[in-house]
């Protein structure tokens, strides 16, 4: 199973994360981690439940603003702020989810997209988001007396959060619950005939995914000290799909790789590509769908299995 | 191949997803001949027809349609070689009226029946021509499915269980239609469960068992090979 085969990368990954700030910008790594978490959360839904949500930005954005507002205006402790954001996203996830799971396949994608757009408009008009200005100057605060304004201090908090969440996701995938999710993706009517309430499993998966996406958003606010409308815009929903697709949907590490790639790509394109950024993003999408459906990690695993002469399921 | 030979199927294998249904079917049908495929439920007769039309999943082997290899052609090209297919499930369109259903298939050759001829042959269709296709009774749907391919001038007809679900009188009429078609030098490949219907019509009978042709019986041998048929078809 995944567990045994892929545990060494996790170890290596964590080790890498711990030493990373020595070489790379902590903030950059933190940003990557935020999006990686976002993508993993999304992948939990697409890759392991077979539901394509095209509105996940709603959860990222809502949580980002909630946390930001809580920390800045209500001046709650950092931890509380993070929790608020996550719980808020989960609640929103429950609402959107229970509407969306009434439809399957493409419809599901469209419904989530539309509802996310609704959320976007609400955030846009709500005074506390400060519209275009964005919610700026959110304090990082302290955690157990440690001052988080220090990038390195925050860095290790973010790493901890990410590793924790990542572990939870993998745990979920392997858990009894995850087994049923897999089964649902494979053959829904059969799962029903075995006496499972499929809708509830889908909903829980959706809420879980929303909550973790929320955590990503909350953390992002903490890292950058601001939340902006971009976090809730449907382009963001598209980006997370791209990250997952590029990295390899349904693989545990794919989204992480995808997120890292896209984030760095965007940063670099900022200097070189001039006004063609969106075109390039679009092109990557098309190529992935046409030629590269398994994604980087997916192809990697396939290759690896072929080498050790094992069949690919 | 002999000039009069119209359809030659050799070593035909067909699959639905992973399940391997046809295990090497071999037979030929001569022009103007009526051949019947007999066999138990699930033996693979429908699949044989679907495979000829290119409607199954993967298929291998060879299908010669009066001299043209058709195994790799898409369905509509096969039809345009002069084939008419009447599916087991009838395939009447809910979205189309009876008349639209009737006029749907494009004409693929000369000598097809005119619409009037057809309505003359099946008065019920004339009466119901404006009602939605699937609102027709099972029997009428069956007539419609047959009628619409008679219009196209196809010379080879693949008919799957056309007698089923029809009142005896109509079964009678269908038998007459087939006879008439034979007069007109149509070539007919018939899949039937209803032995009584098929027996008098068929020049030859092929018995399908587990995706293979296990026996061939000519019209005149019927009586002496009765028990063998019993054994193959009965339980």
């Amino acid at each position: 199973m995944m567990r045994t085969k892929l545990s060494w990368p996790s170890v290596a990954g964590v080790a890498l994360l711990l030493v990373a700030p020595a070489v790379v910008y902590p903030v950059l790594v933190m940003k990557v981690l935020c999006f990686a978490l976002f993508a993993c959360a999304f992948n939990l839904l697409l890759g392991f439940t077979g539901l394509l949500s095209f509105g996940h930005a709603a959860f990222l954005g809502t949580a980002a603003y909630l946390t930001g507002h809580a920390l800045k205006v209500w001046e709650v402790p950092t931890l509380v702020g993070l929790i608020l954001g996550t719980v808020g996203a989960a609640a929103l996830g429950w609402v959107i989810g229970s509407l969306a799971i009434r439809r399957q396949g493409i419809y599901f994608a469209m419904v989530t997209l539309a509802l996310a757009q609704l959320v976007f408009f609400v955030l846009m008009q709500a005074p506390f988001t400060h519209g275009d200005d964005g919610l700026q100057g959110v304090p990082r605060g302290t955690l157990f007396g440690i001052d988080l304004t220090n990038d390195y201090a925050l860095y290790y908090l973010v790493v901890a959060l990410f590793v924790g969440a990542f572990w939870l996701i993998r745990r979920t995938i392997d858990s009894p619950f995850g087994q049923i999710l897999k089964a649902i993706r494979e053959n829904e009517p059969r799962v029903v005939s075995l006496g499972y309430d499929v809708a509830r499993y889908k909903l829980i998966a959706f809420v879980l995914s929303a909550a973790l996406a929320g955590l990503a958003g909350a953390t992002k606010t903490l890292v950058f000290n601001f939340a902006t409308l971009g976090d809730a815009h449907w382009h963001m929903s598209g980006e997370v799909v791209l990250m997952t697709l590029l990295g390899g949907m349904g693989t545990v590490f794919g989204p992480v790789v995808g997120a890292a790639l896209i984030v760095t790509l965007q940063n670099e394109l900022a200097v070189v590509a001039g006004s063609l950024v969106t075109v390039i993003m679009g092109a990557i999408f098309v190529v992935c769908v046409l030629a590269f459906r398994r994604g980087i990690v997916g192809e990697g695993i396939a290759l690896y299995r072929r080498m050790i002469g094992e069949k690919v399921g | 191949m002999s000039p009069t030979e119209y359809l030659r199927v050799s070593d035909l294998h067909a699959f639905y997803g992973e399940s391997h249904i046809l295990h090497g079917i071999d037979f030929t049908v001569r022009r103007g001949e009526c051949v019947t495929l007999l066999g138990r439920n699930g033996a693979g007769r429908t699949t044989t027809l679907r495979a000829i039309m290119g409607l199954t999943g993967k298929r291998t082997g060879s299908i010669m349609l009066n001299g043209r290899e058709a195994i790799n052609l898409p369905p509509h090209r096969i039809t345009q070689l002069g084939v008419g297919y009447c599916p087991e499930e009838r395939g009447i369109y809910a979205g189309l009226s009876t008349e639209e259903n009737l006029l749907l298939p494009p004409v693929v050759g000369s000598g097809g029946m005119s619409v009037d001829e057809i309505y003359a042959m099946f008065p019920n269709l004339w009466e119901r021509r404006h009602s939605q296709g699937t609102k027709l009774s099972g029997g009428e749907q069956q007539m419609l499915a047959l009628a619409r391919i008679l219009r196209t001038g196809a010379r080879l007809l693949l008919l799957d269980e056309i007698s089923e679900g029809l009142a005896p009188v109509i079964v009678q009429k269908l038998a007459d239609v087939i006879r008439e078609l034979k007069q007109r030098d149509y070539t007919v490949l018939l899949v039937e469960q209803n032995f009584r219907f098929a027996a008098p019509l068929a020049d030859r009978m092929l018995v399908v068992e587990h995706g293979q042709i296990v026996a061939e019986i000519a019209q005149h041998e019927l009586r002496q090979r009765k028990d063998m048929l019993q054994e193959l078809l009965g339980v």
Binding site: I180, K182, L194, G195, G313 | -
Partner: protein, 283 residues
């Protein structure tokens, strides 16, 4: 044509499943038309009939995959006409599908475990380790052995041959230890040897449960079924044990036509009714 359910005499076991006036219409087309079905505890009960007779639809109605248009369904004395499919399954009525229905990319063992884990009641626990399911492996293996799949336990279900898939499906169904098992054409698409194995299997698992199955293969029906209901055009045409039913002229005409005695009688008879083969209808 309505067949009378035989009066239940003394040594007839009590009914476990009863339907009264069951009707299903699909946009004007009546697939199942007033079926009164009585399945008795411990029986292997066969549902036969020409293609399109309404057998699969009946299954879908009984297991609530379709909402009946009219009529009632009573299972173990309770009315389940409006229950949800998963609820029905939990009460102990589990069905298999006409087209083989496994979880293609799970291992054979995990296929069975999916069914087994329901009993643990931890299926919503996304925080629990997958290892907590290992306790089920022993039972899973037992079940696989019972259908002769133990050698394939770690194989991915996709790679099983058609016949074995059906066996796996059976094992999965058995995992729920249902009181009433509905099998839709369990031998369909199988070679002789497979058929015999499955027959044996069904016989053996029927020990302490009731089985209702759709079957085209008269050999199987004749071999193991205590009771047979013949459907035609959505209605019950006849009911009884094999001898009774196979002797019934209506049945011979409607279904067994081709093997009836006067094989070469000239007069054309009532033909059987065929519409969409369920393989293309259900799913």
């Amino acid at each position: 044509m309505q067949g009378q359910p035989l009066p239940g005499d003394a040594h007839d076991p009590p009914p476990i499943l009863e339907t009264r006036g069951l009707v299903k219409e699909f946009r004007g087309f009546i697939a199942v038309n007033g079926v009164d079905l009585t399945v008795r505890r411990g029986h292997i009960h066969a549902l036969i009939g020409p293609n399109g007779a309404g057998k699969t639809t009946c299954f879908n109605l009984l297991t609530k995959f379709l909402e009946p248009t009219r009529g009632t369904i009573r299972f173990k004395g309770e009315d389940i006409t409006r229950a949800a499919p998963q609820a029905v399954a939990r009460r102990g009525m589990v069905r298999s599908f006409q087209i083989s229905s496994v979880f293609p990319h799970l291992s054979v063992r995990d296929n069975v475990r999916v069914a087994l884990q329901r009993e643990l009641g931890t299926s919503f626990h996304f925080w629990k380790s997958g290892r907590t399911l290992d306790s089920l492996d022993a039972r899973a293996m037992e079940l696989l052995e019972s259908v002769g799949l133990e050698k394939f336990a770690t194989m991915v279900a996709v790679e099983l041959p058609y016949g074995r898939k059906r066996a796996l499906e059976l094992a999965t169904t058995l995992a729920l230890d249902p009181e009433l098992m509905l099998l839709d054409e369990p031998t369909q698409g199988m070679g002789h040897e497979d058929v015999d194995r499955v027959m044996e299997l069904i016989k053996q698992v029927s020990a302490n449960r009731t089985i209702l199955m759709v079957e085209h293969n008269m050999k199987v029906v004749a071999g193991i079924c205590d009771r047979i209901t013949v459907l035609a055009r959505g209605a019950v045409l006849a009911e009884g044990d094999y001898a009774t039913v196979s002797a019934n002229p209506a049945v011979i005409e409607a279904y067994m036509g081709a093997e009836s005695e006067d094989l070469f009688g000239e007069e054309p008879t009532q033909a059987t009714s065929t519409r969409v083969p369920a393989t293309e209808v259900v799913s």
